[in-house]
């Protein structure tokens, strides 16, 4: 039982980090960034390349790749989202624009690393196991959970205690009002994308380390689960994304343990569906979800 909890939390860490990035951008721009999963994937590949080709230690490769992912996010915002601001169809257009970027990123990954699964070289991460009260836990799992917790706390601190955090929250509330208050909205949005993509990128590297299987289409499956998480948690709600992310990890793990792996993916969508029909606002969301 304890085993499953650890498994669930560790899976949930990845979902939570990924979903946080997703929901941050939605909160700030009211846009679903479908390129998020491509950044997740590219960052995993980048870390892989740093480790296997440049022989950088994983502890350095992770922050480097994460920072790179953040920068990619800023570029994506500038190239694919900013030109659409103010357009009447900006929601659909933004969705499609991010889709185009995701396709481009996928093609780059295909070209550079091929369609087959790539793995981190042996010895990248310690293979140690710990015995905690009857459960056999990989040290790696604990590290991943730890990293996720640290990042969540860091993000919370950023949003609640710093000036930038306040500005982000202001823009999320109303871009127009924020501008009137003198906030450099463009800069805030760019920084939000940086943070969002860094979160997604970290999730990608951790995913790659955890499952040791990276391929250009690895983002797709996580993307849809990520959608389920942010809906259940409430669009635009950070705590919601975290709770729902860990929640999904746990629920999925327990479902597989009880019913077998063929229902692993179904559970996310079943919950998604139910939530959308019963309480589209999600657990903690505030976005208006219905028309008059």
């Amino acid at each position: 039982m304890g085993q499953q909890i650890v498994n669930g939390l560790f899976l949930g860490s990845i979902y939570a980090l990924f979903a946080l990035g997703y929901t941050l951008v939605f909160g700030v721009l009211d846009i679903l960034n479908l390129a998020h999963q491509a950044v997740f994937m590219l960052c995993a590949f980048l870390a892989l390349t740093l480790v296997s080709v440049a022989h950088v230690h994983i502890l350095l490769a992770l922050p480097l790749a994460t920072a790179a992912a953040g920068l990619v996010g800023v570029v994506v915002e500038r190239a694919a989202f900013r030109p659409l601001r103010g357009r009447a169809d900006s929601n659909v257009a933004g969705l499609i624009s991010s889709l185009a970027v995701a396709t481009i990123f996928e093609s780059i990954a295909l070209g550079l690393w091929g369609p087959d699964v790539s793995r981190f070289p042996l010895g990248t991460v310690p293979e140690r196991q710990l015995h905690l009260g009857g459960a056999v836990v990989q040290e790696l799992q604990l590290v991943i959970i730890g990293i996720a917790v640290v990042m969540v706390l860091g993000l919370t601190f950023l949003l609640q205690r710093t000036r930038l955090g306040r500005q982000i929250r202001a823009v999320a509330e109303s871009g127009f009002a924020a501008r009137v208050l003198g906030i450099d909205v463009d800069r805030v949005i760019a920084l939000s994308f940086f943070i969002s993509s860094a979160l997604g990128g970290t999730a990608g590297v951790l995913f790659g380390l955890a499952f040791n299987s990276i391929s250009p289409d690895v983002g797709r499956s996580v993307e849809l689960k990520g959608l389920a998480v942010i809906i259940v948690g409430g669009m635009g709600s950070m705590p919601g994304a975290v709770i729902a992310g860990f929640g999904l990890g746990l629920v999925e793990t327990f479902t597989v343990a009880r019913f077998g792996s063929s229902y692993r993916d179904a559970v996310a969508f079943a919950v998604l569906f139910l939530v959308l029909l019963v309480r589209p606002r999600g657990l903690l969301g505030q976005a208006a979800t219905r028309i008059a």
Binding site: A80, S107, I108, G111, L224, F269, F273
Partner: protein, 299 residues
């Protein structure tokens, strides 16, 4: 000469078939986009139509027309109870709910032994012919064409522009949205059946998120201001890979990544610079020419 043309035709026959089928899929997405609803459920409806038609062909002696009718009606029926709750959701929530539906359908087929799970059904006889595909495409296009200018068509446009205001003018937006959602489902199911009987197989993997994204892209790249756009977009994007493959062979490049890259790049370029899609090109060209004429006159 005739023989060469005939050979060309045979080579590209299936490609032309896909142009027609993708045209139907693009119109199925257009159906809901025309009243402002971003519904991404049609891959799921397509799957239902495809599997239902394949099963009917394999286990009964029904004529193809009847099979097609069922393939269109079954998803349409499913769309009614699905649409009622889901269409009350705004914008991106509707998109996500419908994505969820599509995934649920796909996963259901993956887990259903009767349809061979993830492997799907194979050995489906080829009953789809070009005349049938284009007849159905023409019928769908005709329907959309006649919708314009009618009370129904105006209501759809109003809902797309501002649903709350449309309701204050007496338009029952829920009914119209549901109607278009059901129409889209039927068209997608029909396309699924045609596709199944052209490619000899039906597998759940062909009906995932990627498939519905493709349909959306056909519609948006073509332009959703009128029904012509989606058909143009479908034709363009279905034939483009063929052209690119020929080009790639010429240039000796790796086909896969390049095609994907160009797909993405074209989509990005269209959405950023041609917001009304390819179908708006003639109008834009005309305006550009008029402006140049005007400038020349003024000079």
């Amino acid at each position: 000469m005739i023989a060469a043309l005939q050979e060309l035709f045979l080579t590209y026959q299936s490609a032309l078939g896909f142009v027609g089928i993708n045209g139907l899929l693009a119109l199925s997405v257009y159906a809901t986009l025309s009243c402002g609803q971003l519904s991404l459920a049609n891959a799921g409806f397509m799957a239902i139509g495809a599997f239902a038609s394949a099963l009917l062909t394999q286990h009964t002696a029904l004529p193809f027309a009847a099979v097609l009718a069922v393939a269109a009606l079954l998803p349409a029926l499913v769309a009614v109870p699905l649409g009622l709750p889901v269409l009350r959701l705004r914008g991106v929530f509707l998109a996500i709910a419908t994505i969820g539906f599509g995934e649920v359908v796909r996963l259901s087929f993956v887990n259903w032994d009767y349809t061979n799970g993830a492997l799907g059904l194979v050995g489906i006889p080829q009953r789809t012919t070009l005349p049938v595909v284009y007849l159905l495409l023409a019928a769908a296009a005709f329907l959309f064409w006649r919708l314009r200018g009618s009370r129904f068509g105006y209501a759809l446009e109003a809902i797309r522009e501002d649903e709350a205001v449309a309701r204050t003018l007496g338009i029952d937006s829920t009914a119209y949205k549901l109607g278009m959602f059901v129409l889209g489902a039927g068209l997608a199911g029909l396309a699924g059946a045609l596709d199944a009987h052209l490619t000899f197989m039906v597998a759940p993997s062909g009906f995932g998120f990627g498939r519905v994204v493709e349909m959306l892209v056909y519609a948006v790249v073509g332009g959703i201001t009128s029904f012509i756009g989606p058909v143009v977009g479908a034709a363009f994007l279905t034939l483009l890979p063929e052209v690119l493959r020929a080009l790639g062979e010429l240039l000796g490049m790796e086909a896969g990544p390049l095609r994907l890259f160009l797909n993405g790049a074209i989509l990005l370029a269209v959405i950023l610079f041609l917001p009304h899609g390819l179908a708006s090109l003639p109008r834009l060209l005309r305006r550009w020419r008029e402006r140049r004429k005007g400038a020349a006159l003024a000079a």
